[in-house]
């Protein structure tokens, strides 16, 4: 028997070579910096080149530079800012309402089979039916004022929040519920400590859809008795066939949608720091 007892060697000046075992990475690997900008930059590039070379005809999609001019014109002469603000107000209030209601309903229906059987069916049916077609109902109930618009948007954004939160909740590992049961915590604590954080990834995905839905809903509701709003602006421009103004609206949608979506994803990355997944 040979026993060698090591005493740590005197900490020599560090040899900083770093040869590691290089394994083919199967996951997506590290995040690319500035990746956020690549998508929009690409879209803009394709659009510009297409327009400049004439592949994209201006009658079909105005060139970026014409859109810039139209944007300026809208800004100066047609209160674009006012349009944007009215729209944002509607969608933010509607979204907030929808998110809260959707999440509450999802928790109720996620945690109780009875709640589920009462809540789930109607929501599934609601979401199978075109919003445009049920607006007449809403008009009858809520008039054609701001109320109707906000409620419609709330209902539109409620759906993805409900479904994703419900799905996320139901996807929580059953072992954590077991743990909670043996610890003897109250139902409220269970919801706070296990259900909500566990369903958070689902909820956040739902948020991504809810945010875009609440913006897209504007196009529908602002056809009704609106005097301002991006949806209103697009509707008008469509009727007149003002391609460049439509595109101003679409670009605004794109920008808002993309930024809101990225904001949710960034938030998700922060609050889901506990996850060790392929997202990395």
């Amino acid at each position: 028997m040979t026993a060698t007892l090591h005493t740590p060697p005197p900490a020599a000046v560090d040899d900083l070579t770093d040869t590691r075992v290089v394994r083919r990475r199967l996951g997506p690997g590290r995040r690319i910096r500035f990746a956020f900008w690549i998508g929009p930059a690409l879209a803009l590039a394709v659009w510009s080149i297409g327009s400049a070379t004439g592949v994209i005809k201006p009658a079909i999609l105005s060139a970026p530079w014409d859109v810039v001019v139209a944007f300026q014109d809208q800004w100066v002469h047609h209160d674009l800012l006012g349009n944007v603000l009215s729209s944002l107000e509607r969608s933010v209030i509607g979204l907030a309402l929808g998110v809260v209601t959707g999440a509450v309903l999802a928790v109720i229906s996620g945690l109780s089979r009875l709640g589920e059987s009462l809540i789930d069916g109607p929501i599934q049916i609601k979401r199978s039916v075109p919003t445009l077609a049920i607006i007449p109902l809403f008009i009858a109930w809520f008039g054609i004022g701001q109320e109707m618009k906000i409620i419609t948007i709330a209902l539109i954004s409620l759906v993805p929040i409900y479904i994703h939160t419900h799905n996320g909740l139901r996807g929580i590992d059953g072992r954590y519920a077991e743990l909670a049961e043996t610890i003897g915590i109250s139902r409220g604590e269970f919801v706070r400590h296990i259900v909500l954080p566990g369903a958070l990834p689902g909820f956040l995905l739902g948020m991504r859809f809810a945010v875009t839905s609440s913006l897209l809903g504007l196009v529908v509701v602002e056809q009704y008795n609106a005097v301002a709003g991006i949806g209103h602006m697009i509707t008008l421009a469509e009727q007149y066939g003002q391609t460049d103004v439509i595109v101003v609206g679409l670009v605004l949608y794109g920008v808002f949608g993309y930024c809101a979506d990225s904001a949710v994803r960034l938030t998700a990355r922060r609050v889901l720091a506990w996850r060790q997944t392929l997202e990395g």
Binding site: E178, L179, I185, H193, W274, R275
Partner: protein, 245 residues
């Protein structure tokens, strides 16, 4: 709770009473086949048995976590039960301290949690995420979570499996100290026969779904050097099927 008449313990009334317990996952064979078991209040029982004989199944039945498993039988347990699961089962979305004090009430919860963490050797790791702990550290965090609750029945499923000898000895001491203070009934699953003998008042061996062996440990000196120790050890290993040990 099934009945907790047994909770206001006269020593005659056991803390845990199991009668004719059957559990099976498949049609062709049961895991527990008419198991009977009593544990007195404050008694420390070690449960050993081959891998896959149903130790965890029994613990889960005592913890009330097997609603959907077929079977029958009678179970009575005290109200305040705490479980150390075989997997450490830390909530991945809560930092270690929050995991430990999950559901604890009172202003001093955080303080008690931090103390429990320090006792299992995890002082300073309060704000780590579970994935940042080594296997043994996770197991100790999970142990801390159970101990901080001062249950009347502690069900521990191999709580020391991933610990080295020294840490294990420290945890033994900690567990024994807590048991002396609060005197919960303990049912501890372990694969280490020595550990069973060192810690328990009674060692039971599960086989074929029933209690095969049930030995009371009455050693004066719980040390390998005690001749009774070796004798008991050989007996148990023998029943486990290890003859030439």
């Amino acid at each position: 709770m099934a009945t907790d008449a047994g909770r206001l313990t006269t020593t005659a009334e056991p803390a845990v009473r199991v009668r004719n317990l059957h559990r099976s996952f498949t049609k062709d064979g049961g895991v527990l086949n008419g198991l009977d078991l009593d544990i007195a209040p404050g008694e420390f029982v070690a449960l050993i048995g081959r891998s896959g004989t149903g130790k965890s199944t029994l613990l889960r039945a005592l913890a009330g976590l097997d609603r959907d498993v077929t079977g029958h039988g009678r179970i009575e347990v005290p109200d305040a039960v705490s479980v150390v699961f075989q997997d450490s089962r830390l909530l991945p979305w809560k930092r270690i301290l929050d995991n430990v004090i999950l559901g604890l009430r009172g202003a001093d919860a955080a303080e008690r949690g931090a103390k429990a963490l320090a006792e299992v050797g995890l002082a300073g790791r309060e704000r780590s995420w579970p994935y940042q702990l080594s296997g043994g550290e996770q197991q100790r965090a999970s142990l801390a979570r159970s101990l901080v609750r001062e249950p009347r029945l502690l069900l521990a499923d191999e709580p020391f499996g991933a610990l080295d000898a020294l840490t294990r000895i420290r945890m033994h001491a900690l567990l024994r100290r807590l048991c002396e203070t609060h005197r919960p009934a303990v049912l501890l699953v372990t694969h280490d026969v020595d550990e069973a003998i060192v810690l328990a008042d009674r060692v039971i061996l599960l086989d074929a779904g029933v209690v095969d062996t049930d030995v009371r440990v009455t050693l004066a000196n719980r040390h390998r050097s005690d001749p009774g120790f070796a004798e008991l050890r050989t007996l148990l290993l023998d029943r486990l099927g290890v003859t030439a040990a």
